[in-house]
């Protein structure tokens, strides 16, 4: 019987196509990634199993390692109204130019009595050098007034629109956080969110075994 001769094929595959795909994907990911802007105030957030994504446009209270409190008014539409409100209610006596200067600042972190002198400086102050908004027991807590102004600017709207975030450093002390919470409570805000790093749900935990929104436990008969 004549043997069928199979032609011996080379095992080398042409890699060009694969290389193209790999680099196409690579360039896509590099371009699609939003580069993180360098943070003016360094904060290492704690981690949680929460999977909700923190929104960008938010009223953000930042709590640093040293216990300083900063306020960021991320909701641009409301920023002007909030700053004008705080100017009149706390009688800061800011001129319109000073107000617009303040509006350009990302972080607010000065006691009321020092805001005007800060704005009169020729160069904008670095957030790191600010003193932070004073917090403490009732009257000393200037964050109360800030949150009050924020709430007033959202008046007439559903409170769902108010996206209040707290971003705290791991090493911040608990009392500072407590004062922040108190200033929210004073203004009748009972719902807010905490910025955290995502973290995997531990295996075999209750949450991993019965994820919320998953199959509901069998109904009673």
């Amino acid at each position: 019987m004549p043997k069928v001769k199979l032609p011996r094929k080379s095992t080398a595959v042409d890699m060009t196509a694969m290389c193209d795909v790999a680099f196409l994907l690579l360039s896509f990911f590099i371009l699609a990634t939003k580069t993180k802007p360098p943070e003016a105030v360094a904060v290492m957030t704690p981690s949680s199993v929460s999977t909700k994504i923190a929104k960008e446009e938010a009223i953000l209270v930042t709590l640093t390692k040293e216990g300083k409190v900063y306020l960021m008014l991320g909701d641009k539409a409301k920023k002007e109204a909030i700053l004008e409100d705080i100017n009149t209610t706390k009688a800061l006596g800011l001129t319109p130019t000073e107000l617009s200067k303040l509006k350009k600042m990302e972080f607010i972190g000065m006691p009321f009595n020092k805001i005007k002198s800060m704005l009169q400086l020729s160069e904008p102050m670095e957030p790191k050098r600010m003193e932070g908004i004073p917090i403490g027991d009732s009257t000393k807590n200037e964050l109360n007034d800030w949150i009050g102004s924020v709430v007033r600017s959202y008046r007439g709207e559903s409170m769902e629109n108010l996206n209040l975030l707290v971003k705290g450093d791991n090493a911040a002390k608990y009392p500072a956080f407590k004062f922040v919470k108190e200033s929210f409570k004073k203004n009748d805000i009972f719902k807010f969110k905490i910025v955290t790093n995502p973290e995997g749900v531990p295996l075999n935990s209750e949450l991993a075994l019965n994820p919320p929104g998953g199959p509901a436990p069998a109904a009673e008969k």
């Binding site: 890699m15 060009t16 694969m18 290389c19 790999a22 680099f23 994907l25 690579l26 990911f29 590099i30 990634t33 993180k36 957030t45 704690p46 981690s47 949680s48 199993v49 929460s50 999977t51 909700k52 994504i53 923190a54 929104k55 709590l63 975030l165 707290v166 971003k167 705290g168 450093d169 791991n170 090493a171 911040a172 002390k173 608990y174 009392p175 500072a176 956080f177 407590k178 919470k181 929210f184 409570k185 009972f190 719902k191 807010f192 969110k193 905490i194 910025v195 955290t196 790093n197 995502p198 973290e199 749900v201 531990p202 935990s205 209750e206 949450l207 019965n210 919320p212």
Partner: protein, 182 residues
């Protein structure tokens, strides 16, 4: 005229034994390049998903002195957060005579099992975790313990943050001294 002899010496002719220079293939092995490409892709994919911050919802109760929640002694577990990532806990109410025996120390690694044991041993209607933070506790501790509640799937409304009492603060201090925590 004198002629230079170029035929001898250094120069040698191409004889029949000398090979012609071979035409090189223009194909390059792309395997390492593909490897590198995919390595970079994996790196970027991982780093991007890690950095998106998430938000943990917090719901604070309204402080109302007329409407205090009554908690059953049998269903209550109090978790106290202290210095240096320590967690202290006791069940029910602290009795003035036996407080030091009731008061136990733990840490964030072991507390999950304790929370779970309590949850399993108690009818859900009675279950209540009371969280109290010392002034030396950190923000991380406060978030971690709330996260533990989420991990152990304690339904909302069955845990609450409460201010620490003087006795408890003293007990923590005493335990810290005994355990040598600075």
């Amino acid at each position: 005229m004198a002629e230079m002899d170029t035929s001898s010496g250094g120069g040698h002719k191409k004889g029949p034994g000398v090979k012609k220079s071979k035409k090189m293939s223009t194909r390059v092995d792309l395997t390492p390049m593909v490897d590198l490409g995919f390595l970079l892709i994996t790196f970027f994919v991982f780093t991007t998903t890690m950095s998106t911050p998430t938000a943990m919802a917090m719901n604070e109760p309204k402080d109302d002195p007329n409407n205090q929640l009554k908690v059953k002694n049998s269903g209550a577990m109090t978790l106290l957060l202290g210095k240096d990532d320590q967690v202290y806990y006791y069940y029910g109410e602290l009795s003035p005579t036996d407080a030091s025996n009731q008061f136990k120390s733990s840490n964030f690694k072991d507390i999950r099992q304790l929370i779970l044991d309590k949850k399993k041993a108690t009818p859900i209607g009675d279950l209540m975790y009371i969280i109290k933070s010392d002034k030396e506790a950190t923000f991380k501790n406060a978030i971690d313990i709330l996260d533990e509640m989420a991990i152990s799937a304690v339904p909302p409304g069955h845990y609450a943050e409460v201010d620490m009492s003087e006795t408890e603060a003293q007990l923590i201090q005493m335990t810290e001294q005994a355990n040598g925590i600075k």
